[in-house]
Each structure stands twice: as C-alpha cells, then as structure tokens.
Symmetry: C2
Subunit: 467 residues, 2 copies
C-alpha cells in the first residue's frame, strides 16, 4: 500500500462527540467496524483510514448540528457520497465523523422552463437522469461511476462529455452549504448568471469537503437531444488520432464525446465485450443535435479522420449499436483489469494542452513498457485528459515502488507540458505533493483561505492543503 500520513487524534473530543451525537441521532449513528471501513478509502491503493463513526443526516439542519458539535470539540468531519473517489478523499487520517449523505437523496424541484433543478447532495447522477427523463431533460456530467452529485461537485468531476458540456464547475448555478462553524449559506441566486461578489459556488466546487459540506445543489439541465449518433475510427498511431482530435475541435464540430482507447485497451475491450475492433488506437465519438446536425457532424469528422490516416470509420444512429459501443467504453475499466487477473488498477489522471497530448500519451506508453507494466490508456481527449490504468500486484513492494515512481514521473511530465496532475479526480491525499509542484505559491493562498474559513482544521483534514 502507498504510504500516507496520519494526523493527531483528539481521542477525548471524538468520544464526547460520539456520545452526544448518539443521543441525538440514535440508529442514524453507527460505529461498527465494517461500516466504518466502508466509509474510509476503498478504491485503488491508498490505505483505508476508517472514521470513528458514521452519521446519516436527513437535512441541512442535521448537517449543521453535526458540524457545530464537531467544531465545539475540534473533531474531524468527513463528508461521504458514494465512496467512488480515487485519491483518498474519504479517509479519516485523524479519525472523526464520516457524514454519509445518502439519505439526503431527494430531487426537490425541477424547473423545466429554466432548465434547472434543485437536489439534495446524495442524489446520484443515474437517479437524477431517471427522474428527469419523462420531462425530456438530462444532466450531462458522466464520470463513469454512479456517483452522488454532491461528491461530483466536491471533486469538480467531469468525464466523457465534458468536451461539450463542461465539468461540474460549469453546470452548477448555486449551492447550499454548511460552513465549518455550522452556519448554512447559499452561494448564489438561481439566476443563469451573476456578478454578485466572490464566486463561492466555484470555491466550494472542487474543495473536497475541506471548506464546507454541500447540502443542496441547483444544477443546470439540458434538453435531451433530438438525435444522437456514434462514430468510431481506428488510427495507425496515437499521434494520428490526436491530430484528428485537434482538427475536430478546431473545426468547431460540437462533439459530445471524443474518447481515445489505446491499442491495449481495444484488445481488452474486444475480449471483454466480444467486439472485433482493429487492435490499434481508436477514437470513439458521440454527436448530439438534430437529425441533420448529427449527420453533418459525423460526415465532417469522417473527412477529418481520413485526412489523418484514420480507417474503418463507421457511424450509426441505431440506438442498439450506440448503446453497445458506449457500454463497451464504460466497461473498459473492467475489461482492462482482465488483462492481468488479480491485479489492482491504479488510475492516473493528467490533463495537458491538446497540442501536447500525443507526445504525452506516447511517452507514457514507452515508460510503462520500460517499467514492465501492463498499463492501458483511455482518454477524454477533446480536453487533453487521459487515464493510464497501471495494473499492479499490490502484494509486491517492488511493483508498488515502481508504480509510485511512474505516477510521479507522469505528473511531472504533464506539469512540464503546462498541464495538471489531475484533470478530474482531485487532489485528496494522493496528489498533495504534485499540487505544490504544479501551482507553487498559489497553494499558500489556498492554505490561507483554508485557515481563515476552518481555523481548527476540522473539515476533511489532510486533503488538498496539509497544515
């Protein structure tokens, strides 16, 4: 397991808080070992650091009460959505209370004329889209996992269709949040745009629970497009595929998704999803719009791809074909794990300017071969974001050390290309040193804000800014 830090435990405070909250929350406070461990980090390779108790609020007032009591006793508060984050965001390095928001899962209002909705933070993206379907609306952000929307806001999540619809930061109008002193605030009105003071909405989005707990979200919605089509095209090299991506973006084709699968991933997907795609670099696209528009977009992309040595270009508006292709993409994670049964996958998350993407992906492939890793790559390449899934035997310390070296090497490479160590997973515990490398003195400004808003460091301590 990767080494991560622990924080001082305030044993007396923790006992006191558990006693008080048990009285108030009864069965909605749990201290069993299994549930506590489920609420620590459970994904990839970071150590599980379980909280001391898990409490289940039903509304913002409950959350405020929990935070007030924790503030009084200076006990850590760690918000928990679905536990699908990847950088140890839900770990409790100094113990404390996990605040599980899964019972705050109501869609409070859908304003179809305004194309927005108001929800509690425990609503998951699939739950929301099921709720919206009858009204012809959808919420576009899709990080793969059926994460809670509060959690997605907290990590500034995005995923496959950010190239068209942006990330969580672009799709939230307003938040209600409980601040470190227990005060409940609303960050903005429900208006579509605003210049009303500091952008607390965006400050909380991506703050990973270190500045407050999100208790309500007002989200932008979109009409379900009249038509959707999918296209695939194979390329002889990563570089050729990236040239096609750059041309597609420059041409202004409003692609909804443009995903790269490297040859190794295609091989895994073929085996797992029983497809017969050429086992070379693949681009998989989705187009949204009117019937005319999606046909035009696919045609134009086909021409661009051909100019970039693409082959086997096919496109379809058949819902069955569409679903089959995208299911295969969504299953790529499971498919690639089969390349080395028993191994765990460690996902990197760099994002670089797309002019540097081909260089970055190609160098990454060479480096993993050099290190002897099986490490398939998938990328949200319209944004320059890609993930290497390094398949590691986590019982082998040599492999762990090599994987650690590789992650650092890749983050450094991306930063040297004016990119970031995290396009969408967030900093959590795992990326604190790289955040410092990437942004230097700006991290001091982050720490100043953290200290001002949370002087006793009770809100998800040990994440993003360490102090």
């Amino acid at each position: 397991m990767a080494v991560i830090t622990t924080l001082h435990r305030n044993e007396d405070g923790i006992s006191s808080v558990i006693g008080i909250l048990k009285q108030q929350f009864g069965e909605r406070l749990q201290t069993g070992q299994a549930i506590r461990e489920q609420h620590g980090h459970t994904t990839t390779w970071l150590t599980n650091q379980a909280p001391d108790a898990v409490v289940f609020p039903k509304n913002a007032e409950d959350v405020s009460e929990i935070v007030r009591i924790c503030a009084e006793y200076q006990v850590p508060v760690i918000p928990f959505g679905t536990g699908t984050s990847l950088e140890g965001h839900v770990n409790a390095p100094g113990g404390g209370m996990s605040v599980d928001l899964s019972q705050m899962n109501q869609v409070l209002a859908v304003h179809s004329q305004d194309l927005d909705c108001v929800i509690q933070p425990g609503v998951t993206r699939k739950q929301l889209n099921t709720h919206l379907r009858d009204q012809g609306l959808f919420f576009p952000i899709d990080p793969g996992a059926d994460a809670s929307l509060g959690g997605m806001a907290s990590t500034r999540a995005s995923g496959t269709n950010a190239v068209r619809y942006g990330t969580m930061k672009d799709n939230i109008l307003s938040l209600q949040a409980v601040m470190p002193d227990g005060q409940i605030i609303r960050t903005a009105a429900r208006a579509r745009k605003s210049s009303a003071g500091y952008d607390l909405t965006r400050l909380l989005i991506g703050s990973e629970g270190t500045l407050g707990i999100i208790t309500e979200l007002t989200l932008k919605l979109h009409g379900i497009p009249e038509a959707m089509s999918s296209a695939i095209c194979s390329f002889p090299t990563v570089d050729a595929a990236c040239q096609a991506v750059i041309a597609t973006i420059q041409y202004g084709i409003p692609v909804a998704r443009i995903e790269l699968l490297d040859a190794l991933t295609v091989k895994a997907v073929n085996a797992y999803s029983k497809l017969t795609l050429p086992e070379e670099t693949l681009l998989l696209l989705e187009f949204h719009g009117s019937d005319t528009a999606v046909a035009e977009q696919a045609k134009t992309f086909g021409e661009i791809a051909a100019d970039a040595s693409g082959y086997n270009f096919t496109w379809t508006t058949s819902p069955e074909e569409h679903t089959k292709l995208w299911q295969a993409r969504h299953d790529a994670y499971w498919a690639t794990l089969q390349l080395r049964p028993g191994a765990k996958g460690i996902s990197t998350d760099v994002c670089v300017p797309i002019s540097r993407l081909a260089d970055c992906v190609t160098a990454t492939q060479a480096k993993t071969v050099e290190l002897g890793f099986m490490a398939p790559i998938v990328g949200h390449v319209g944004d320059g974001n890609f993930h290497t899934l390094v398949l590691v035997d986590t019982d082998n310390p040599d492999e762990i050390a090599k994987a650690d070296h590789f992650v650092g090497w890749l983050n450094d490479l991306a930063i040297s290309m004016e990119g970031t160590c995290t396009g969408e997973h967030g900093i959590g515990q795992g990326k604190i040193p790289y955040l410092k490398k990437e942004l230097g003195p700006a991290t001091d400004v982050m720490a100043t804000i953290k200290r001002a808003l949370d002087p006793h460091n009770i809100m998800n301590p040990g994440k993003i800014v360490a102090f």
Copy 2:
C-alpha cells in the same frame, strides 16, 4: 449624485508611497488633477472619487513592486482597465494609487491548436479579436464597451452572447495575479480542465481587484463560425416574446445571441439608426454554425416565434444586413439617450430565472411609468438578464431620489424572484447593500476571505465587502 461612503485617508502613507514610486517610475507616475479624475468613476451617477496618483506598470514585476510598497505603508491600490465599469469600481474612497494597466497590452502567445491565448490584462477585446482574425479565431465575450480583458475578468463580465459562450468565468483557463502581499501567483495550469485544488481562477474572476491584481490571462478561444445569420421578430407583448425565448432555449437551439428590445427602445433605435421596425417588443437573434445549421436554426426559431404570436419574422445571412442590425443594437445606448437629451442614463442589471423574466420586465415597465421615468429596456434574455436605462436629470434631487428608490425596488423584486441584483456589472460600491440582501450569511464568508488575504484592506477597499 448618489451618496457613497468615503474611507479614512492614510495621508502620511500616501505621501510616502508617492515619493517612493515617483523615484522608481518617473514619468510613469502621474499626479495631475485631470488624470486623477479620469481614473475615478466617470460613468453614470456615482460620485467621482479620484485616486492620489496614477501609476503605469509595464509588467507583473512592476505591479508586484507597487503592491509591496503600498502594503508596507497600508495605502489603497485600485486597478484600472479602461474605466468602463458602472458601479464605482475604480473609485478611490480612501485615496491611494490607481494602477493603470493600459501599458500591459501585449498578446503574449496564441496557441491555435489548443484554442487558447495568453495576454496581458490591458489588451482590449477588440484589440484581441483584431489580432486573432487572421488565424480564424475569436474571443466571444462582448459586453458592448471595448473594455480591457483584465477589467472584464475582474467584474465577471458577459454581454450579448453569453447565452451561447458563457461569461468570463467560463472562458478563462488560468490567471497570473499579484496578491495583496505582492506575491505573484499562477492560479492554474493551461490544461483545458483541472481538479487541482481550490479554484483560485474563479475566486479572482469577479473579485473586482479586492483580492489581487490580474497581470496575465489565459483565455479560451473559438473558431470563427463558418456562417452567421441574424433574425428579428416582433411580438405584441413582452410576455409573448419571453415565451418564445423560453421555447427556443428549451428546444436547444444553440442561439449565439438573443436580445430583447422593448417598444421604447425600438422607437429610439428607429430614430437613431434610421430603421423602420414595428415599435413593439422585438427579439434580435444571431446564429453561429455551418451554412446548413444556421439555416435550420433560423427556420426552427421562426416556427417557435409564430407559435408565440410573433410577426414580421425575417432572417438574413447577408453580412451588410447583419452588421446593420447589430450596429443598431450596439448603438441602442446612444439611441435611447436621445429620448431625453441632456439626461444621464442609469443602468440597472438584474437577472432572474427566465420563467420569471416576463413578469419582471412587465412589472418594471409599469413601475417606471408610475414614477414618470423614460426608461427603455434591453435584455440578454436567453440568460434572464436585462437592463433598464433610467433617463435622469442628475441636477434634480427629486429625480435622483426617485431613481434611487426605483433601483432598490427592482433589485428587491429580482431577489424575490430568486434572481440577482447584478447579472454582469458587478457590485462595486453601488450594490453592496443589495449583495447583503441577496446572499445574507454568504457575504460574511466573503468578508472572511477578504480579511484573510488582504488583512490591511489595501486592495480596492470599499468595494464588494465593506469592513
């Protein structure tokens, strides 16, 4: 003139700083009365509060040096772009140094493959678009005035095409800024998206120089669309026009602009720009895309407008017609001033959920009639944002009092409709009380951040948060 507050003047500190900076900046520090007054508030009705000196830095190091010296002597620093802001943002209520960024006007890099550019803050939007034109690129945000991009970032500006391209917050990848202690930071990498820590980019956008001075911007760019078309349509009522807007947005037509002109504005525009539009509520639209797409979009809008009792629908792809219509829209400010020669225009800036827009505009029209004001309305109605230009004789205290009452009434109305007191102009001095009404306890959080980052309150004091 509207009454605004003054702050304590640190006379000794101001003299010392002027002495030191004069030595370092020579002719690039000016203290003449005319230039000082030009650098105080010069638009609409707020009192001009001139700074004590104006200094012209050439680079971030100059800005850092100025801020360090001002910090040492606790003297206010007020960044100045082109002076086109509307809420007293560049006033110096406690005196101090105006930092005029007009000499920092270089386009430092254009990355056409990445669709971004790096510029200094004094570059104006027209200058940038002229620079970009040969490469087939443009920067879309258009607040009307040829403002500096640093100023536009500072007020979170937007304008006519935010409905398609978003506001400044959506079009900036990264900022370089000088913080209140003189430290130079970079807020983000140049990657298209990032989850790397607190979103300092968005915290600075809209902070109106109260947290730092922007010294460099990395902006997202767009390809110039293959085709543009314009359409106009008249409506019997504001409500009918708003219904057409709602349907257009719901239908997902990617309109680039959708502007409402009320009957009074159309009358003024007809007279000023020698047009013969029906003198009723008008929608003016622009579509961007391929030839096929803009034709399809215009046709669909025409059908929607007809369903909402629209008439006189016409659309054109002729560049001459297009330019003529949009020139008339851009000249609406000057046109409406002619409705009452000699009067000054006071511009309101509320933004409400579009389901409430018709009610809000209709009530506003009734209220201005009741108060006896000539007050034409234009609106960026795809976002629910509209401006009432109240034509006021600023030598008449009764009118000033009535205008003040009206502005307050309208802000309160918008807030009661879940809207904001400012869609795009910002808080400055004029809207501080309404910000408090709109966001309540969130303004305490803003003040905490301000105090933490700028403990001596030297960065544009007396704006957004008063303490």
